[in-house]
């Protein structure tokens, strides 16, 4: 059984136990013998981030009976994988979760509650568009957002998050990462 960790380009090194399967300029990073758990999978992908120019994480659970099956799954998607690797090259993902600091008070009427929710949403919207303008790409679902940020800009980006946080006293912002670009590795 072959377990797929990620696709990579410009792979400089590979930790013991991992194997590289090249398909043109795209390298599939796999393990043959053992079956990792989700946490191991995630940690391997994070370490891979330091060893390659571009890393496209695979979702946990991509398993193949053998090399032939792996090649058959990749061949029709090679162009899409190359394009996605181009897109994330040199970048990491920064996760930002926006959490309203206080729930509206119980004694507020319905309209008051809705106004408070609206204010919170507008503030979150503002934070998101300010951060999206600084990132190469962004993905947002409800309160969670992922930003694709060039490796060298991560510090500047987190300062920007810090400044926005200070200007929005009603919101708590949880910043995580740098991650491998999971949110920018689309299911093909």
């Amino acid at each position: 059984m072959i377990h797929l960790y990620a696709f990579a380009r410009g792979l400089r090194a590979l930790e013991t136990g991992l194997e590289a399967r090249p398909f043109g300029s795209v390298v599939a990073v796999v393990v043959g013998a053992s079956e990792p758990d989700p946490l191991q999978h995630g940690l391997v992908v994070e370490r891979l981030l330091d060893q390659a120019d571009a890393v496209l994480p695979a979702r946990f659970g991509e398993r193949f009976a053998g090399d032939d099956e792996l090649a058959a799954a990749i061949a029709p998607r090679l162009e899409a994988l190359e394009a996605q690797l181009d897109h994330v090259a040199g970048c990491v993902e920064v996760g930002v979760r926006i959490v309203p600091r206080s729930e509206p008070a119980d004694d507020e009427d319905g309209a008051g509650y809705m106004r408070a929710r609206l204010r919170e949403q507008l503030a979150a919207e503002e934070v998101h568009s300010a951060l999206a303008a600084k990132a190469r790409d962004s993905v947002r679902t409800n309160r969670d957002a992922g930003y694709l940020v060039p490796r060298g800009d991560v510090e500047g980006f987190s300062h920007a998050v810090q400044r926005l946080l200070e200007s929005k006293p009603g919101l708590d912002v949880l910043c995580t990462g740098p991650w491998a670009p999971y949110s920018f590795a689309a299911a093909t």
Binding site: R59, A73, R77, A185
Partner: protein, 51 residues
Amino acid sequence: VTLLDLVDRVLNKGVVVTGDVTLSVADVDLVYVGLRLLLASAATLEREAAA
């Protein structure tokens, strides 16, 4: 939070090249492994908070 975020990413995001094959084969133990991990990490967090 970061450990849960990592597991969440690993299980819900990332490239899929196997189409629907994985779902039918691995769905059961994926949920199981994921759940076990979440429970384990919640226990670890509690322990750390108590320490």
